[in-house]
Symmetry: C2
Subunit: 411 residues, 2 copies
């Protein structure tokens, strides 16, 4: 590292520390995790808790969004360069899925690791069953889905995605929970959607929908559990399964939504998630285009494309349904834009910091937390006024996950 870059880094750290002193309690250093004997302060509600993935250090910060403060840090979670989390149905425990195949159960109250298993070679996420008793992990390597007991992390069963004819085990993407202890997921190489009924988690039943299109790269379950939609990397469209009418099978929607424009190089894979639906409209990040695609959820036809500042990564509807917040791939990952749902116009463009990787809303949407990886901080904004409320120092933050997800379908 050159002297100039070092100097810059120290300056950045000083700014971060100053910002932290002004508004938030100090975060305990990584070497001082929460003590195993719970202090009185751990007796508290869990509805306003959450965690911030610190991707470079394999740690998470435990935070709360009533006072917008950090409560502590848990270390030793392995490779979190791409990580996601789900929560136990009581909101006390987080299950963190790491890139290295690690699955770590954290107690948010006492801030300790309860259990950690290495369950695969390469994993990018998971889901939790409707009843909260089964944690499902989707794996790149060796492919497939594994089901674990949410209490003990005991392995209950494994569904292989290996094609016996070709010997290829498909990477699993877009795992989403569905009502009735079911899960839906997509097979990247096989171009398929599978729906798993895990009512008996030791003997799950799988229904396969083959030939859905080339290279599904992510999927979403709608918040009412009705639709599962996979984005296709290998073609210009999405694949939709109506779980209220499964006999109709999977159909293609928004075919050719990139029509007429030359696709740009793709710098970062966009994400799909169930909360990108509001007021009869679904919002999808286009791939290789600087636009958000808007579809009608009755007809699943394209309504319009909203031009935005870069290639969108996340397009998420705020819980009040009024606005869609969008972040972008490099080189526009210093920008966040806000789309007004009734007018479909961009009403706000912000440049909060460099490297906005992810954002998370408070459960009723009054504030949003933005992770600023390249500036080692998390910014909290008032969603009504777009005014910054506070700043929290964090080490290369990426995903931010709040416990209210435990009470939602499709997250």
């Amino acid at each position: 590292m050159s002297e100039t870059r070092l100097h810059h880094k120290f300056l950045t750290m000083a700014v971060v520390l100053l910002a932290g002193c002004a508004a938030t309690p100090a975060v305990p250093p990584a070497s001082a995790p929460a003590t195993p004997v719970p202090p009185p302060s751990v007796l508290r509600g869990t509805g306003d808790l959450g965690l911030i993935i610190e991707r470079a250090t394999g740690s998470v910060q435990i935070v709360e969004h009533s006072g917008d403060s950090a409560l502590g840090r848990v270390t030793g979670l392995g490779d979190l360069s791409h990580a996601a989390a789900v929560f136990s149905r009581d909101g006390r425990y987080a299950y963190v899925f790491g890139r290295d195949g690690g699955l770590t159960k954290i107690d948010l109250l006492t801030r300790v690791i309860v259990k950690r298993v290495i369950q695969a070679g390469n994993s990018i996420g998971g889901a939790i069953s409707t009843d909260g008793r089964i944690v499902a992990a989707q794996n790149y390597e060796p492919g497939g889905v594994k089901l674990f007991d949410a209490d003990t992390l005991e392995l209950l069963s494994e569904v292989s995605t290996k094609d016996e004819a070709t010997g290829t085990a498909s990477k699993v993407v877009g795992l989403a929970d569905l009502p009735g202890n079911r899960f839906a997921f997509s097979l990247f190489e096989a171009g398929a959607i599978w729906v798993m009924d895990a009512s008996d988690p030791r003997a799950p039943k799988v229904t396969q929908y083959p030939n859905i299109g080339k290279q599904p790269y992510d999927g979403l379950g709608s918040m009412n559990g009705r639709y599962y939609i996979a984005g296709l990397y290998g073609e210009d469209g999405l694949a939709l399964l109506d779980l209220w009418k499964p006999e109709q099978g999977v159909r293609r929607i928004l075919n050719g939504y990139g029509r007429g424009a030359d696709p740009l190089p793709v710098y970062k894979m966009p994400h799909l998630r169930g909360w990108a639906v509001s007021d009869g409209r679904a919002f999808f990040p286009a791939i290789g285009h600087n636009s958000v695609v808007v579809a009608d959820t009755q007809t699943w036809k394209e309504v319009t494309q909203v031009p935005v500042a870069g290639q969108p990564v996340f397009a998420m509807v705020s819980p009040d349904g009024r606005r869609v917040w969008v972040n972008f791939a490099f080189p526009n990952n210093d920008t966040v834009q806000v789309i007004d749902v009734p007018t479909l116009a961009v009403v706000q463009t912000m440049k909060p910091c460099k490297g906005v990787l992810h954002f998370e809303f408070a459960p009723r949407g009054e504030e949003v937390w933005l992770s600023c990886r390249d500036e080692n901080r998390v910014e909290v904004y008032d969603t009504q006024t777009f005014v910054r409320k506070t700043t929290l120092p964090a080490d290369s933050p990426s995903g931010i996950f709040f416990t209210w997800r435990a009470a939602r379908i499709g997250l």
Copy 2:
């Protein structure tokens, strides 16, 4: 009480106690509330907690829906003959609104009353602001709305509904939270909807919508915060305010929905609530008719009326959006029916017990709790199979409220 009725009551109690022994831990008697010194067991998540109103004894039971058990009882809440509850944003505290104007803050973890104020002469409910800092109470006597600090229950301000010309203070009904720390409510005598911006809770600003129709009796805020709808007792229709287009004012919808049929005597006022919306359809209990009215949420025209077993009281969509559960007024309050949303057909009719006053879903909808007032118990059913999972003894149970409401708009 006659000997026969006494005998019947003892028999019922024996059955209840037996049922309780089999499946649930004993509920502490009313004389032994949770000790002020928290036992270790109170260190737990709050996402699966809730309470059951015991209407005849002025008590509430604290329950949890991961193991479907009772944790304890809190007494001394006054007249709970019509009561409702909201929750703090961290899920730890409940605010119970009693018929006698009492507002009681309960700590669900330590199971003690933190604070109790008598804030009016007659009240039927309240709401909590988006940011969780303001508790609003809607009052019958002396009318109006009062705003309280959620931490201390300090009175912050009061909005009077007294008409200076006539001297009449309207009863307030249908209070619902809206995004941006706003509230909407209806004035029974004045026939008006008011929207209050409580961003500054010591000086709230009110926008009045007069002449909305005769005798609004309840209201709902849609879960995305867009619509406020008041049911009209004095005429045959509902009043709708689109808060995304407030300049359009209030308009009448479903006018004459009881056309052609002779209205029956009304035994119990039905309730409206925001979760009666699914898949572009809104479900309303008809007044004085044995039907559930279905409206299209784009046009707000009537789609159909679903004939049901009695006069509906609550028509609530399960969190997975697939089904609408309905209970009924006397003499059909031993019955519960379930409507399938895509086909609008009644797919299940159950007679779980006498006096089904209310029901509440687990946050992701896998189970539902039914209060059986006349049989002193609460029944827990699997919503997929309609099989009873367990029974909990309770003293004249009415409302059941789970903490997941804290993370929702419009409840």
